[in-house]
């Protein structure tokens, strides 16, 4: 398989195109890959027509005074501008968000209306931690594949410069009772019960509800469980920044659309890409497990503002409308992974290892068939732990019930344009960034199959196979 993989894949492009265009029922003879194509008989081909994102900025920087739906609007408008897609032809909008702005709880609808989409296009918001936009895309693919829609916009937004900080439960309870109190006396007696403790604010949960553990803490334990050293993590983080910088300098990050911040400059570049030196990185103290932990600010993804959007269509419709689709979105799989004994023993950032073999087996591909890998990088330690687990027979046998290991992706195909560590990680916007980036990489590198994988709090993971469309 290895030797076959290096063969040029262009030879059968024309044939393949014909196959896809006809929604072919019989796949051609496999030559280079385990499977010629992922097209399935009787199922509509779903394509990624375009994917865009706002520049990802560190929280508290240029976007600081905006709101989540502003960024989302930016991404949606950017998508329309780039594709010149007729707004009324959009059948549905699905948008992800994690930390919800309570004023715009269905941020999908608010942003869509603001971006000038038709008020007849329904929009819903989905939340699934860091794979929220992955789930938005999965929903979109399902809507198109089942024939309910022809064109769906999916995306996600995260705005970490402002988060909802609430009054305490006691205070809220008092304020609500105050609302119902009818007489002045009742009101005064309620106010009389006000104590200093009522005024302590409640921050949005930084830890998971079910395990009461913070993500960084979990990642540190995960790294320790797999014996991933601080040095390895710092090296991987540095790699991410160096590659991202290179991609930025070479102009490969074409998914970015400019964003005009009212009263400020036009933003057109990610601002968190900062290649450092190993020496500088080694000086940082552990951020979560002190003092012996290995996860630091430098080898973790940082709080980021940003939004992304993709246009997902049926292939027939896209071609009929004259678009050149970028990629087929084939098989998408979200896996729930919270078994074990209720406790923190199960590391949450771990699910790609579980989701990937499932998605591969379902599609009949092997790891060797994949030309481009795009993994979400929440923490360097978490990525490396996943890679180690995929290479471990012990893990496969004892934790996954498999006979043998899945195998880890080769680094020369892995996150070559940087990742969440360097580009930034606006939770719910990352999924679309990953898919668009893998499509762009397949095009640039001449590959056929791409694999996207991401993990999320709550022990969930997502994997998706992407197949390049013929040029």
């Amino acid at each position: 398989m290895n030797s076959l993989r290096t063969c040029p894949v262009n030879s059968s492009r024309a044939l393949q195109f014909a196959t896809w265009a006809l929604s072919a029922s019989a796949p051609l003879q496999a030559q280079a890959k385990s499977k010629k194509t992922l097209s399935k008989p009787g199922v509509r081909n779903v394509v990624l027509v375009e994917g865009v994102r706002t520049p990802f900025l560190q929280a508290g920087t240029t976007y600081a005074d905006l709101m989540a739906h502003d960024l989302a609007r930016g991404a949606l408008q950017g998508l329309l501008n780039r594709t010149a897609f007729p707004k009324e032809a959009v059948d549905y909008i699905v948008y992800g968000t994690v930390i919800q702005e309570v004023k715009t709880s269905n941020v999908a609808r608010e942003a869509a209306l603001g971006a000038g989409f038709s008020d007849k296009t329904p929009a819903h918001t989905v939340t699934m931690a860091c794979i929220s936009s992955n789930q938005a895309m999965t929903t979109a693919v399902g809507l198109v594949a089942s024939g309910q829609c022809d064109a769906v916009v999916a995306g996600g937004v995260e705005f970490m410069s402002d988060v909802p900080i609430r009054h305490s439960r006691k205070m809220r309870k008092m304020m609500l009772s105050l609302n119902r109190a009818r007489t002045l006396g009742a009101r005064l007696s309620l106010l009389g019960s006000l104590r200093l403790s009522h005024l302590v604010p409640e921050l949005p949960a930084v830890s998971e509800f079910s395990t009461a553990e913070m993500m960084g803490h979990s990642a540190d334990r995960l790294a320790a469980a797999f014996g991933i050293s601080r040095l390895d993590q710092d090296e991987f983080a540095l790699r991410s920044h160096v590659l991202a910088k290179k991609a930025q300098d070479e102009g490969l990050l074409t998914d970015i659309v400019d964003f005009k911040v009212p009263g400020k400059d036009i933003v057109s570049k990610d601002n968190g890409i900062r290649p450092s030196t190993m020496e500088q990185m080694s000086k940082l103290k552990p951020a979560f497990i002190k003092p012996h932990g290995t996860v630091t600010a430098a080898n973790s993804s940082y709080l980021t503002d940003g939004a992304s959007a993709v246009l997902i269509m049926s292939e027939e419709k896209a071609l009929a409308m004259g678009y050149k689709p970028k990629a087929y979105l084939s098989d998408s799989f979200s896996d729930f992974l919270f078994h074990g004994k209720l406790t923190k023993m199960r590391c949450v950032s771990f699910s790609p290892t579980y989701a990937i073999p499932k998605v591969l087996e379902r599609s009949g591909l092997t790891l060797a068939d994949i030309d481009a890998f795009e993994f979400h990088e929440a923490f360097a330690g978490q990525v490396l732990a996943n890679l180690t687990a995929m290479e471990s027979d012990w893990f496969a046998q004892n934790c996954m019930g498999r006979k043998a290991k899945v195998g880890a992706p080769p680094m020369e195909k892995f996150n070559l344009w940087g990742g969440s560590l360097s580009l930034g990680h606006p939770f719910a916007a990352t999924g679309c960034r990953l898919v668009t980036m893998v499509a762009h990489r397949l095009k640039k590198e001449g590959g056929q199959y791409g694999l996207v994988a991401a993990c999320a709090a709550g022990g969930q993971g997502h994997a998706m196979l992407v197949e390049a469309c013929p040029q």
Binding site: G227, H292, K344, F395
Partner: protein
Amino acid sequence: LFYSCLRGSDRVPLFPSPARTHVNYEVKDNVAVIRINDPTSKVNTLTRQLQDDMMEVLNEVWGNSAVKSAVIISTKPGCFIAGANIDMIKVCKSAEEVSKLSKEGQMMFEKIEKSPIPFVAAVNGTCMGGGLEFAIACHYRVATKSKKTVMALPEVMLGLLPGAGGTQRMPKMLGLPTAFDVMLTGRSIRADKAKKMGLVHHVIDPLGPGVKDPEERLIEYLEEVAVGVAKGLAKKTVTVEKKKGLMQKVQDAVLGIPLVRNQVYKTVTQKVMKQTKGLYPAPLSIIEAVQAGVEKGPAEGYHVEAVNFGKLAMTPESRALIGLYQGQVACKKNNFGKPEREVKSLAVLGAGLMGAGIAQVTVDKGVATILKDTTTEGLARGHDQVYKGLNDKAKKKSITTFERDMTLSFLKGQLDYSGFEKVDMVIEAVFEDLSIKHKVLKEVEAVIPPHCIFASNTSALPIREIAAASKRPEKVIGMHYFSPVDKMQLLEIITTDKTSKDTTASAVAVGLKQGKVIIVVGDGPGFYTTRCLAPTLVEGIRILQEGVGPKKLDSLTTGFGFPVGVSTLIDEVGVDVAAHVAEDLGKAFGSRFGGGNVDVLKTMIQKGFKGRKSGKGCYVYSAKKKDKQVNSGTEEILKAFKLTAPPAVSGDEDVQYRLVSRFVNEAALCLQEGILADPVQGDIGAVFGLGFPPCLGGPFRFLDSFGADKLVQKMKRYEDAYGNQFTPCQLLLDYAKDPSKKFHK
């Protein structure tokens, strides 16, 4: 041998030392990593071999100038050191011998404390008794937050004291009040709590699965962290001193005043005396050793600790408590083999106090449980009881609210028999009435699968009579739980001659899963526990009739070592239940169960004095007042049934022995008749189920230490005054005749 080892460093060994089996070490970056693992046991204990190996290794480490610091770690999964080896103490014949053991331990730990290089104890798993004393002799402690990591000085529960420097180091480390609390209660301390108390310096979280066994990797990780600390200590980048909070500083300053300290000793002693009634010597010895060390200096402190340790080891109280500990371990095993099918789903009939309690301890272990009742009100009450039990745990932070919710999801409340076709075991906890039990049994047998076991939670009805209505008596068994089920450790399992071995194995397996200490007894009215309790209660009523007030009766029984007085016990059990049992067993056993008049109880029931549950019994219960008042209504009833006390057998001591001798005689009869398989189960059942004084170790241990002959003498006196309820049984007479005969070896 021990002393030669101590001086080993300046002595050329004449013979090459035999291979070390329990302790080894390697030097990593100038850190000596000393690993403990006893290959002969599942847990590490401080045995002679382990101590010798350790001393040898320590001397090599100290002799190696390249070593700048050391880590002590156990490679045994889930266990650092579980404590000193009890057998080592049990074989000693004199207090002096035990004192010598204590001194040896003290010296080894003192050498570590005074070591020229710093020692880091890396603790994962059980770290108790001598194990904890070892750890606190080290300069720095790192512990994992694994659920198995538990620190404690449980010696007091064995009637001993921490005899290897514990009474001396603990006060210095934790301050007097906390140190007393830890040593006098013997309570278990988890790692994060230990961190807060200042018992450990640093904690690490357990890891998930990686590329090898999680426990194995955790120990490796612990070692990595500990080696890092050890290096830091050697380089002085890590300090041993902890920053003290303001409260701590204030406390230290206050306790620096001798007068205040004296007050602390006094208060603690008073508290101990109040709780133990002076029946347990160990807590007082602990206070004495601590006081000696703090007030007169370490030399005197260590000396008193060692001497007291020796003395305590020779006390009958310590023998009794050690016997109970070992009996408890024995009663946590399934001697009936592995059941053919594991019970994965269970149904409980009746959502009353008992039923809901059984459901709670079952869902707590993740077993799907159906709780069935006949009314929605009953079901709601039962559900609330389970919720409250779990929520209390969450409030105490022993589980999270999330774990509470997930545990509760295993519980299914319903009014019908749907789903019973899939359950593996049914435990009925319906009203104690044979005809109702028969009705329920028939209904259940119509729906359950053939392999399903039917267990009856009854406190007195013979199982064979319940099983008489069954089509499959081999699947019928008794499981007698004690109230409150989530607190009481004992489960009495009753087998009939028809109960199959696999059914018994299954019931024991379920009980063990529920965390119970289990005795398996033969069938008969009242089985074992209720049968011992009934004559004691009847005697209690007699004593009340004779004019001893409920309060006095309570103080006499608690003064003998019972945790709950007889009058209070009647209220707790319920006057109606007590009457029911006394009458039933009275019919079954005749005049031996006579004495008090059951009509006293019946009159109380008529007046609504049903005990705590009705707010009135022997006492009046109100939610507000903590101090309960004697119920004047009951006093009047007692006056109406007044009997004259024969003066010869009515002194305080005689009253106590009248109660105890009837209990013990009935227990001996159970052994004689084969209801009990052995005295160990008899002791465990009496102590854990009925509160027989732990310091006496149970009825059989009591007979061994008190002397069967002495008890028989007393009983003969009572027999003369009262009649045949005090006639000693044949087994007692046999043991009285030959004082060399003992129930426990």
